[in-house]
Structure formats: C-alpha cells, structure tokens
Amino acid sequence: MSYSSVQITRFAVFSAICVALNVGLNKLAAVLQLPVFMDTVGTILSGALVPPGFSVAVGVVSNLIGGVVTHPAIPFYIGTQVVVALMSIAAFRFGWFHRLWSALLMGLAIGIVSAVVSAPITVLAFGGITEPGATAINGILLAAGHDIWTAVVSGTLIVSSVDKVIAAGLVWLMLKRLPDRLKRES
C-alpha cells in the first residue's frame, strides 16, 4: 500500500510518540514505585494508530533508544518487542481491544509469549539477571534448588504477565479517550 507524504509524516510522528511512550513511561513506573516495566504500552498502542511496518519499527527503535537512554541491556530484547508488535497488530485486526476483558486476556497472552521469548536472552546474555522484581523471584527459585532456566522462565512469566495485562488495560483506556480521527481505521 502506498501512502501520501502527509500520511507518512503523520505515521512517523505518531510512531515517534509511541517510541517515546515506551522509553518514557518507565519514569511513571519509577515515580509510582510499581514493579513493572511499562515498556510496551507504546508498541501495543501503535498497532491501532500506524500501519504494521511502523508498529514493528516502534518496537525495534524503542529498544535501540532505550539502550542508550535507560540501560545497555535493553537492545537485546528487540525480539520481544517485535513479538509484542505482531501480536498487537493481530489483536487490533481481530477487534480484541474493543472490550476490556478481551484486551486484558490479550495482555495476558502477550505477557506469556514475551516471557518465553525473553527468558533465553536473560539466561544466556545476563546469567538470569533482569529487572529487580523478576531478579528477586529468580534468586529465590535458584536458592530453592531450581535450575536457572526454570527459575528465569517462572520469574519472567509472573512479572511479564502482570506488566502486559496492565499495559493492555491502559491501551484499552487510551483508545477509549483518544479522538477517533487519530486512529488508523477512522
């Protein structure tokens, strides 16, 4: 599909805001002392606002910029962002963000899949260390005698599920409040 220069500029600007939400919302998690990342809100939201290619780019660029702004470990999780973007695009296409319960279920599904994708990176690249909440769970499970893979998958599943359910709920709320003209289908 070809887009006019106005549309491309609009998608580029909106995608940039989605990236900024991914990178900037960890500040919100920090000021409210919430044990979640909030780093996929923009990626999920982009599924409703920009075409699929831009949405995937939002995920990739978020982690590249996050690697410079927030922590150098973040770019290693680009694959996770791509998976989140693809699942959100499918979810919007099938209308799963029209109702709160289906949006939350979708958040749970995204959380489970992204935990499975993230766990190998956490184990192989960082020896099981990740964000503090998940690291604490991993440490407890390792001390209990579980192997590193079981510990990391379990810890990441718990934290990632909570994180993505919250993110999906927030995106549902944002879509309710955002004017229809800003959404792609309008």
Binding site: I8, A12, A16, A20, V31, I148, L178
Partner: protein, 248 residues
C-alpha cells in the same frame, strides 16, 4: 548524547568500538584478557570526557551495579545448582563455580555498558548528520530524532502531571493498588495531550515541504588527526588484550 568529550567522538569512532568489541568477545579466550580489554576501554572512554569524566563513571556504575551485585550474590551464594566450596562464619555458603560464572557475566555487562557510554558521547548534531549522510528517507530521520527528543518530553510531563494530580488531592502515593489505580490519572493527560499536539505538527511539517523535497547530501565532517588517532585506541586495547591472551 549529552556529554562533552575532549576528543569529539564521531559515529565512525563508535562503529569501530562496536566492531572491535564484538571481535574481542569472540576471539579472546581467557576472561582475564577480556577484563583487560574492558578496563582499557573504560579508561579510553573516561579519558575522552572533558569535565564530565565523573559523570560518565557514575553512569557506568548506575548501569552495571544493578547487574553485577545480583550476579555475584545470586550465583556465588544462593544458586544451589553450584556446589558449596566454603562456609563463611558457618552461615554463608560460598560457591566458587558460581562466583566464576557471575564474574564472567559481569565482565560482559560492564563491556556492553562501556560501549553504550561511547554511544551517549556522540553529539546530537553529529548523530543527525550521519543519519542524513546515509541517504535515509527524511521520514526515517524524523522518526528517529522525534523519538529521542519526545522520550525526554514524556518523562518531564509525567513528573509534572504527577505533581499536579498530587496537589489536587488525587491519592497517587499510598498503597500498591491505589498507585496502580492512579496510573490512568497521570497517563491519560500526558498521552492525549502529546498526540493532539503531534497532530498539529504534521500539517506544519508538510507545509514546509517535508517529505516532498529530497534531502541534500551533506559534506563529510572534518575529522582531525588526533580524532583519527583516538579511533585507533580501542584497536590498540584489543591488540594488548590479544597479547595478554597468548601470554596467559
């Protein structure tokens, strides 16, 4: 992209650092030689900063400590899959294999953080110019630059809306569930305001010919001899580490 280095760090310098680091991670066999390489890279990075050497050192500590301390504690003491080698005061089990594993991982984290330190030392103008010089479509440059600029704007807005909501009496600081419930009251004003503002920016950009006129190629930056020599320092660090690898 905030520090002001003594030697101007160009994107080409960082590309050399990244390439050398990846080769080093593959080629260097002993952990000691990788540690030597990392140490030299840290010295080069901090030495290149003008007045912000302490700032860069602080940033490196901020990036690495949350990884290094748990790596040592979890694998060296807690991880029951490693055998206990020694009891400290008959209370704390020390696992030497776990400590070794934690050390190996820690060196990698420190090395990655150092490379990121070089990245943040690139001046913003140099970064944009190198993107334009790559002949990327202007909307990609816009996307990348707006993303970097807006991330800071969103963080500042979150802080100010948080303070505004607190001053209005909305409970944003008490128990866990009330904090979760207060997220929309902070997030929605930030997100909706930012998107509406961006919507207004699009016609302004297009009316200036954005996306229609092809970007003009920029002249190559003048890199001084000292800056080229600086590019050679990471390679020198790698050569020293290789020698150490063979000697050890």
């Amino acid at each position: 992209m905030t520090a002001t280095p003594v030697v101007r760090i160009f994107p080409v310098t960082v590309a050399i650092v990244i390439a050398v680091t990846f080769v080093a991670m593959w080629v260097l066999k002993s952990q000691l030689s990788l540690t030597i390489f990392t140490g030299f890279l840290i010295l080069i990075l901090i030495g290149s900063q003008r007045n912000s050497g302490n700032l860069m050192a602080g940033r490196l500590l901020k990036w690495t400590i949350p990884f290094v301390v748990p790596l040592i504690v979890i694998h060296g003491i807690l991880n029951a899959t490693f055998p206990i080698s020694l009891w400290l005061w008959d209370a704390v089990p020390l696992r030497f294999d776990g400590l070794r594993f934690g050390y190996i991982m820690s060196v990698r984290v420190v090395l990655l953080s150092t490379v990121a330190g070089f990245l943040v030392s690139i001046l913003r103008d140099d970064f944009v110019e190198s993107l334009i010089r790559l002949r990327l479509p202007s909307w990609i440059v816009l996307f990348l630059m707006q993303s970097t600029a807006m991330a800071g704007v969103i963080q500042r807005r979150v802080s100010s809306v948080y303070l505004a909501q607190r001053s209005r009496g909305i409970p944003v600081g008490s128990g866990f569930f009330s904090r979760v419930k207060s997220v929309p009251s902070i997030l929605l004003p930030v997100v909706i305001g930012t998107f509406l503002e961006a919507e207004g920016r699009v016609p302004a950009l297009v009316s200036q010919g954005f996306g229609i006129v092809k970007p003009r190629p920029l002249p190559r930056p003048k890199i001084r001899k000292s800056e080229w020599l600086f590019c050679g320092l990471p390679v020198l660090a790698f050569v020293i580490a290789i020698v150490a690898d063979h000697v050890i």
